[in-house]
Symmetry: C2
Subunit: 246 residues, 2 copies
DNA sequence: AACTGCCCCCCTCAAATTTGGGGGGTTGGA
DNA sequence: TCCAACCCCCCAAATTTGAGGGGGGCAGTT
């Protein structure tokens, strides 16, 4: 397998894709090009708002989108649940569907005509934003697997492009979200868990001074007057959370 | 007008409503009883999750629900925007529809067959959770206004019941969300804005000691080891935010 | 090859602030 | 009556803050 050659085979397409105006257009283009039924882009959060609104772009049929929302299926959908937790793409078939709740979810999906095979691509950018991109078709999982194998790398590129388009759509040209270093995020996260500098130093195996220094620089990067404000802001921006601890 | 007599007129209905198993059943029952086309319950946030998921229960048609989600209409829908900001119920007609964005939103709503008159009821509970309940019908706004006038109080009760059902659905019997006092929330919010105790004392017109005491008790109520952790937790639970400042 | 920026890591010191523990009190609602 | 919210105070110990000072390494640019 030569990923690079596979990509270059579709270079022209990716270029065209990047030129499209919005996420919806990209979704349609990808589906048409690869002859895939459904594609969805789903950004985990939409920071700083008082009202939770997922940023979702999809070409799934209305009935299913409505049902998914109203039934709060995101809570039990293994694709979404593990998609936002894992780092590497995978076939839906390779996920864990053993939970009985997944069963009712799948039944309902089939009832809505959207059962079948799928491919999940998690996206994480340098600013700790998380999204998932899903491709799905109502075809035989075996055939789907071989089809995907050939284009997995290109689909990965497509996912990146979708994400960039979404961020552009949401925040415009300049993306002001501060990029903290991994250590800064770790220290801030531990502080938010109620640990003091001494404890964090032991946990991370570094000096207490260094822990303080990371908190300081994180505070400055976030443009905050106090560390309290930095914790608040970083929490709202979802830069720190319990799984950033280690 | 005698609100109490109006309520008692529908006492039996409200009792039956409380006995229903879930939010969806309540929505259907309310619509049937009052001959209203559409009803929606929308909880602003769904705390502590890494993925933003609105808690929405509605009997709106699928096409419209999908469109609303995919177009991110929540951002421009005056009903949702002012609903989560205001405290008192009002007719949709009395909202501010002057923004040109509202125009395209309304057009699209009409295209989806859901234009018409509506009544918005904001819900805020003691634990600072916010929700909106909306009732809508494709009838003449004048007629709608007189119809609502008669049942406004009962609809308010219905909204309360819907909210209780939703909270029960989400968190089960015991609702562990800590209830901070208004002063505690204020102090915590100001701390999260980067103010120190001295500045907050001046802002709120109380002693510096008192500010500290509020932070202390808030920290204890939230079950946190440090104030940093309290700020983090309160931010995640959406107990503190910029409009809790005054 | 030099430079710049960032990440990573460590340290000092004095001043300011927070913490945890106590002690008061009033008021209004269940 | 009790409880919670609201308000005020003290103190010693611990901690954080702000301002400096170091160091090495890696990646991209000029």
């Amino acid at each position: 397998m030569k990923p690079t050659s596979l990509v270059s085979e579709h270079d022209k397409f990716l270029e065209d894709l990047s030129a499209l105006p919005d996420v919806n257009a990209c979704i349609d283009a990808i589906c048409a090009y690869f002859k895939i039924e459904f594609a969805t882009y789903h950004l985990a959060f939409h920071e700083g708002k008082a009202i939770d609104t997922p940023y979702v772009k999809t070409n799934y049929p209305s009935d299913w989108v409505r049902q998914y929302l109203v039934m709060n299926y995101i809570e039990i959908d293994p694709v979404a649940q593990s998609g936002f937790a894992r780092a590497l793409p995978c076939l839906w078939a390779d996920l864990d569907w053993s939970d009985p709740k997944s069963g009712t979810f799948v039944e309902d999906a089939i009832k809505h005509g959207v059962g079948g095979a799928g491919y999940l691509i998690p996206v994480t950018d340098r600013r700790r934003r998380r999204a998932i991109v899903n491709f799905a078709s109502p075809i035989d999982p075996e055939k789907w697997a071989t089809k995907i194998e050939d284009i997995a790398v290109v689909l990965g590129e497509c996912a990146e492009i979708l994400h960039r388009k979404a961020i552009l759509d949401l925040y415009g040209k300049e993306d002001e979200r501060p990029a903290l270093s991994p250590r800064e995020i770790q220290c801030l996260s531990w502080v938010a868990q109620g640990k003091d500098a001494g404890a964090i130093a032991i946990i991370l195996g570094i000096s207490e001074h260094t822990v303080r220094d990371y908190c300081k620089s994180a505070k400055h990067k976030l443009g905050c007057a106090t560390l309290f404000q930095a914790i608040h802001k970083a929490t709202m921006l979802r830069i720190i959370d319990s799984d950033a601890l280690d």
